[in-house]
């Protein structure tokens, strides 16, 4: 299976993540996978919940800024998916009746936009110190015409693909609590938080995507973990 950029089917594009890039925001991060790059900023928690939101829980609002053009249906859908995904990883009972704003700015789109946005938002939430249950790692799997699954497709590959799925997994707790490794793998790592698919594929193909996506989450969460760590350690040493 040849890919235009010479990657193997399971190979991700080079990852890059930097945090605290905006100093007015409470938390911010950039995330890039190959040419795709996004900037996420977090403000809050601010007092008061929006209309139609449950005031007994902390709510999250997501504002999606496309690199060019107006906000359309696609952006509204992204906002909704991101909002629900982030709400499911936040501990929402801690700051009831507050709103946390997450602003996503697309810098460059070269495929797998939504998974990158979820990763960026997750890094920014950690940077802002919003209490989270666990991290979320997102990955895009695409199915080619000959039913091969390739990970992290570029825009060109996405267009050619028969179908693709955006999958979000909780990060493997192995990278957070190493002791757990001894007790066997943690079952939460196997569930999916979010799944969005485009195009027609067989159910088996989808399950195959799940399996392959799940296998990559460990690498992704290790990367995320490594990038988040320095700041928290730095702050801890400053405080001490």
């Amino acid at each position: 299976m040849d890919r235009p950029d010479g990657r193997t089917p399971n190979q991700l594009r080079p990852l890059a993540c930097s945090h605290s890039v905006l100093h007015r925001a409470h938390g911010s991060a950039t995330w890039s996978q190959g040419e795709t790059k996004l900037l996420a900023a977090v403000y809050g928690p601010k007092a008061g919940a929006k209309k139609n939101e449950n005031p007994e829980k902390a709510s999250i609002e997501v504002i999606w800024k496309p690199s060019t053009g107006h906000v359309g249906q696609a952006e509204r859908e992204y906002e909704m998916i991101l909002k629900k995904t982030l709400e499911s990883i936040c501990i929402r009972t801690i700051y009831p009746n507050t709103t946390t704003s997450v602003i996503i700015q697309v810098v460059h789109d070269d495929g797998a936009l939504l998974p990158c946005a979820i990763n960026a938002a997750c890094a920014a939430l950690v940077d802002a110190g919003i209490p989270l249950k666990h991290l979320a790692v997102a990955i895009c799997c695409s199915v080619t015409d000959d039913n091969c699954v390739i990970l992290d497709p570029s825009k060109q590959e996405e267009k050619k693909a028969k179908a693709f799925a955006y999958l979000v997994f909780p990060n493997t707790t192995v990278s957070v609590v190493p002791e757990k490794l001894l007790q066997g793998s943690d079952p939460t790592a196997h569930g999916i938080i979010t799944s969005v698919t485009h195009g027609a594929m067989s159910v088996d193909n989808y399950l195959h995507c799940l399996e392959r996506g799940r296998a990559t989450t460990q690498r992704l969460s290790e990367f995320l973990r490594k990038n988040i760590e320095p700041k928290s350690i730095r702050e801890a040493s400053k405080a001490g």
């Binding site: 998916i81 999916i192 799944s195």
Partner: protein, 446 residues
């Protein structure tokens, strides 16, 4: 209250049943009465005196308290019938004074209010349709009024409505433990579904779909347009989903609902990825003219599983769609052809005959909610508000997975749960397909 009582006794003293029935019929018809209750009371069970009948009209909640007081003071016994078009609702009222008296059988302490289908009671009043919520409210207040004097088993029954409002999740879980849902369905059963094609006469294709009380009206309007340069031999399908403020208390007038653009996008993604419609079929003259199909879905009642109902109505209206016959006139313009024109202007180049679209594989969907280890198919709005984890699966009739949509939610979907949901969807797709075929064949017969 006194007034009520005197009214009761006046009616009670009516000797003849038939005259009384006709009188009550008139009085009920003249006033708007929400609920009328016919009491067939046995004054005393021991001496078996033939029953007298009294009629109590309940129009407001306050009337219920009056009725309760009346029931208590008169020490009612026996059965009470609530005249209403629903069945299986039973309200128990106990008269406190009777409760204190030692009597052998428990049944003798009870005043049963049974709800009968109105056909049993046609002799007194005309059957009337009333909103179920009002009905429930009235009944619940009926329940409440005898609460202070109730015993434990009764009090647990009385508080149901309050419990439901205060602890929706626990109320729901109590049902789940019994493998039943608040509306009486088994966990994995979808609501009753109906499809009515051709609901909008002025549209080229239309459908009205109901899943439970979720109602969607879809209409397609065809217009001729110039195709874009990128795809000169393709038509276009524009899908728009509307949620007017009548559909749900959450939607405020003047402000579009958040779900509107999201559902529009989801629907157009689903229909385009399923490859149900070949857009080339909508082409008229390559590069010059093509059909633009405006598919508008209106949500008339939003009671959960909006996507399922919207997709079904979109698919149904597409299967009902008749592309109008058009002809090209001398100036090269496309004009609509009426029936007579077709025969008259044979010299003109006729582009198309009135025809239907060929639909390849039809995408149909099922929404499930996940809660702990439970999977519930086709949730109502109430269930959707309590449980936040939704999974929508779209399969086409050939079994391909078109979409598996799970936007977040506190419950993680494991592979086994996904497989269960897919199996449920398979079943549902078959069922929906047969409904759709039935509706289509019914249209053809007409």
């Amino acid at each position: 209250m006194k007034k009520k009582n005197s009214k009761q006794s006046k009616q009670a003293t009516q000797p003849k049943q038939s005259s009384e029935a006709s009188q009550s019929k008139q009085s009920i018809q003249s006033e708007f009465s929400l609920l009328s209750i016919i009491i067939s009371e046995y004054a005393s069970l021991q001496c078996c005196i033939p029953p007298w009948r009294g009629i109590c009209k309940i129009r407001r909640d306050d009337d219920c308290y009056d009725f309760a007081a009346y029931a208590c003071t008169n020490q009612l016994e026996g059965e009470m019938f609530v005249e209403y078009d629903v069945t299986d609702i039973e309200v128990l009222i106990r008269s406190p004074s009777r409760l204190t008296k030692p009597e052998p059988a428990i049944n003798q302490h009870k005043n049963k209010i049974k709800s009968h289908s109105s056909k049993n009671l046609t002799k007194t009043t005309e059957p009337r349709r009333r909103s179920e919520s009002r009905h429930r409210k009235t009944l619940s207040s009926l329940k409440r009024m005898s609460l202070p004097n109730a015993t434990e088993d009764l009090s647990s029954e009385m508080e149901v409505d309050a419990f439901r409002r205060l602890f929706p999740l626990r109320y729901f879980e109590r049902h789940l433990a019994e493998s039943i849902r608040p509306d009486g369905r088994p966990l994995k059963e979808a609501r009753e579904t109906s499809i009515f094609l051709g609901a909008v006469a002025s549209a080229n294709g239309s459908a009205l779909v109901k899943i439970g009380s979720t109602t969607m009206l879809t209409a397609i309007k065809m217009e001729v347009m110039t195709p874009s340069l990128e795809s000169p031999d393709e038509g276009c399908l524009a899908i728009d989903f509307h949620m007017p403020s009548i559909c749900s208390p959450i939607v405020r007038p003047g402000r579009p609902a958040e779900a509107e653009p999201v559902l529009s996008k989801q629907l157009s993604d689903t229909i385009s990825s399923s490859g149900m419609i070949d857009l080339k079929e909508l082409s008229l003259v390559g590069g010059k003219a093509a059909w633009m199909a405006y598919l508008d879905i209106y949500c008339l009642d939003a009671d959960g599983a909006l996507f399922d109902a919207a997709l079904l109505s979109a698919v149904a209206s597409l299967s009902h769609l008749q592309i109008p016959a058009v002809a090209m006139n001398d100036d090269g313009k496309i004009v609509l052809m009426s029936e007579e024109d077709g025969q008259k202007q044979t010299t003109e180049q006729v582009n198309k005959e009135k025809r239907k679209l060929t639909l390849k594989s039809i995408p149909l969907s099922l929404t499930c909610i996940l809660h702990k280890n439970y999977i519930l198919a086709d949730p109502t709005a109430e269930e959707e508000s309590i449980i936040e984890t939704h999974v929508t699966i779209v399969l086409d009739t050939s079994g391909q997975l078109i979409s598996l949509y799970k936007p977040g939610g506190p419950v993680l979907a494991f592979t086994s749960a996904i497989q269960d949901c897919v199996a449920l969807t398979r079943q549902r797709v078959k069922e929906l397909k047969s409904f759709l075929d039935q509706a289509n064949s019914a249209m053809e017969v007409e």
